[in-house]
């Protein structure tokens, strides 16, 4: 493992967010002569598999530099991305973290749901040679700056808008709230945890920010001109939306389109995603099975943050804990990403480019 250790600039720890993705991946690994496995059969095995590296990643910067990484799959059950399975999932993430350390990764991104480990107890991460990031700062940057860009595209003046943030008390949700609090006319905040939502809301009210908050999403939806969703979409339903509401789906899985009950038109795009202008390569190449996007070289912001930090040789626990993302760090990581030719992904949704 020594040769790998010396050249592994980053590792990405992740999970699949639907059984269809898992099925595409597993059946993509089978030979043409082998029968395709049903999702039911795959479910009987998948979550038992210990965390392992699935493919290598080579990324190029527009500065000419090149970095090497690896993707480590946690094999978390896509149906169990909720608080009820927290203990099992944390255990799987910790196994993946051990694997990344064993491989000698200098920087590790805890992508998607796996970031929950780094948002909790941080003490055990500070003594390591391997550095960790949730990648939440760049994800938040791509969400808010993507929303600004989308507003311009649709001729919307952000300062006249009421913006609903679903999942406002999460790390990314709070970062979005703080970024937008002086840019929008009014913020509507929704979260499941009443105490955390009240605490955040009281702080904003003290700062004279115009807000309304509720744990009941439906009390807020009809007032929103724009919606940012950074929560797990498992229990979310959006009904009575305003006509032409602009929606940024930045949660997991990105299937908010199927949760909207409305007769009126709406504009939805998948947020928090970036595009690498100089491209990247997977080896083996699974881009046809688990990394399918309407345009090439799209990756989640959280993963891109680790890549940007690796390009910069900035090996530190960049995004860690909860509520620590500052406006300065959003600007810093966003500008560093642009330096390396990594920018907000073109607007797309489940139907393609939009």
């Amino acid at each position: 493992m020594d040769s790998t250790a010396s050249s592994l600039d980053f590792a990405v720890i992740g999970h699949q967010d639907s059984w269809q993705n898992v099925s595409n991946f597993v059946n993509g690994l089978r030979t043409g002569e082998q029968e395709k496995l049903s999702i039911e059969k795959i479910k009987n095995i998948y979550s038992f598999i210990p965390a392992r590296d699935l493919f290598k990643v080579k990324v190029k910067s527009q500065t000419g530099s090149e970095i090497n990484g690896v993707y480590i799959e946690t094999f978390i059950d896509p149906d169990k991305l909720d608080s009820q399975s927290l203990r099992t999932n944390i255990s799987k993430v910790m196994n993946a973290i051990s694997h990344s350390k064993k491989m000698g990764a200098k920087m590790v991104a805890l992508g998607g749901f796996t970031s929950i480990v780094l948002e909790g107890n941080l003490d055990s991460f500070y003594t390591d040679d391997t550095k960790f990031t949730t990648g939440n700062t760049l994800t938040a940057a791509y969400i808010v700056k993507g929303l600004e860009k989308a507003a311009i595209k649709h001729g919307i003046n952000l300062s006249e808008c009421t913006i609903l943030i679903v999942g406002a008390t999460g790390d990314i949700g709070m970062a979005c709230t703080n970024y937008l609090k002086n840019r929008a006319k009014k913020l509507l905040l929704s979260a499941r945890n009443t105490m955390q939502l009240e605490k955040l809301s009281q702080q904003l009210i003290q700062d004279n920010i115009t807000i309304k908050y509720s744990t009941n999403l439906q009390e807020l939806v009809s007032d929103a001109d724009m919606i940012i969703c950074v929560a797990s979409s498992t229990d979310i339903k959006l009904s009575n939306c305003k006509k032409n509401v602009l929606i940024c789906d930045a949660g997991y899985p990105k299937n908010l389109e199927t949760k909207i009950e409305t007769d009126t038109d709406f504009n939805i795009f998948h947020g928090g995603m970036g595009q690498v202008s100089c491209g990247f390569n997977f080896s083996p190449d699974y881009s046809n099975t688990i990394y399918q996007y309407p345009v090439p070289h799209i990756i989640h912001g959280c993963i891109l943050e680790a890549m940007v930090l690796a390009f910069e040789n900035k090996y530190e626990n960049y995004s860690a804990g909860k509520g620590n993302i500052t406006m300065d760090s959003i600007e810093e990581i966003y500008n560093l990403s642009l330096k390396h030719g990594i920018s907000i992904a073109p607007f797309y949704n489940s139907k393609g480019i939009c």
Binding site: K41, N44, R52, D53
Partner: protein, 245 residues
């Protein structure tokens, strides 16, 4: 029959425990036979003596299971030539005839021991009592075999990674395919020839087990064994995904 009434709550429980012991005893005897054959492939006298010792250890495990079965009146069926155990042994034999010590080691001490350790642990925890303790203690001893092989195979990987991984892949598909068919929710190659009646997999719930967890845990331990040896994850995931299910 008096013993049966004392030890077992229902006839279904008796039947499934009888089948579990039948599989364990047959598996241990296959292990014993494999280790005995393995001695022929080894030049190093110390390793040769160790293989003999391992064969004896498997014999003692089989005897332990047999003694418990006799004491409690279990209906034990031993069949080393059944569809799955017989074919696993044939695969081992084919490599032993080629004096391929490494392939034999992979089959016996990685593949079969991974399944044995995991399944004995699950069965031991489910059965509890004297039977449970017996399974758990034997699982502990089998762990030593797995650890012993890991060190040897790590050294082989260092010598020539490409050739070693190619050999491991071949052995994986020749042997793990049989175990995957054997441990699928329904026997993919027909009756095993060991269970007394119908396949026991449908009756495991009588002792608080199910084949999905038994199989999943066994595959997980096998995957960890591959990791410990140093097989890259990007390889082992393909090997696992290509198994019958």
């Amino acid at each position: 029959m008096e013993t049966l009434q004392i030890e077992f709550k229902t006839i279904e429980e008796f039947n499934v425990i009888s089948d579990v012991f039948s599989q364990a005893i047959t598996g241990e005897l296959i292990g014993m036979a494999n280790f005995a054959l393995l001695t022929e492939t080894i030049d190093d006298p110390h390793e040769k003596m160790e293989a003999v010792e391992h064969a004896n250890s498997e014999r003692m495990h089989a005897e332990g299971f047999m003694a418990y079965a006799k004491k409690t009146g279990l209906k034990v069926n031993i069949n080393m030539h059944g569809e799955y155990w017989g074919n696993v042994h044939k695969q081992f034999l084919s490599y032993a005839q080629k004096n391929d010590f490494i392939a034999c080691l992979i089959i016996q001490e990685v593949i079969l021991e991974s399944f044995a350790i995991s399944m004995y642990t699950d069965v031991g925890n489910a059965l509890g009592g004297e039977a449970g303790k017996l399974f758990l203690s034997i699982a502990e001893e089998e762990k030593e075999h797995l650890e012993h092989s890991s060190h040897l195979l790590q050294a082989e990987l260092k010598k020539d990674a490409t050739a070693f991984i190619k050999k491991f892949e071949e052995v994986h598909f020749s042997c793990m395919t049989i175990l995957a068919q054997f441990s699928a929710t329904t026997d993919l190659r027909g009756h095993c020839g060991v269970c007394n009646g119908d396949c026991m997999k449908g009756s495991l719930h009588h002792i608080g087990l199910n084949i999905i967890n038994l199989r999943g845990n066994a595959l997980a331990l096998y995957a960890q064994a591959l990791d410990n040896i140093g097989i890259p994850g990007e390889k082992s995931i393909v090997w696992i995904a290509q198994l019958p299910a």
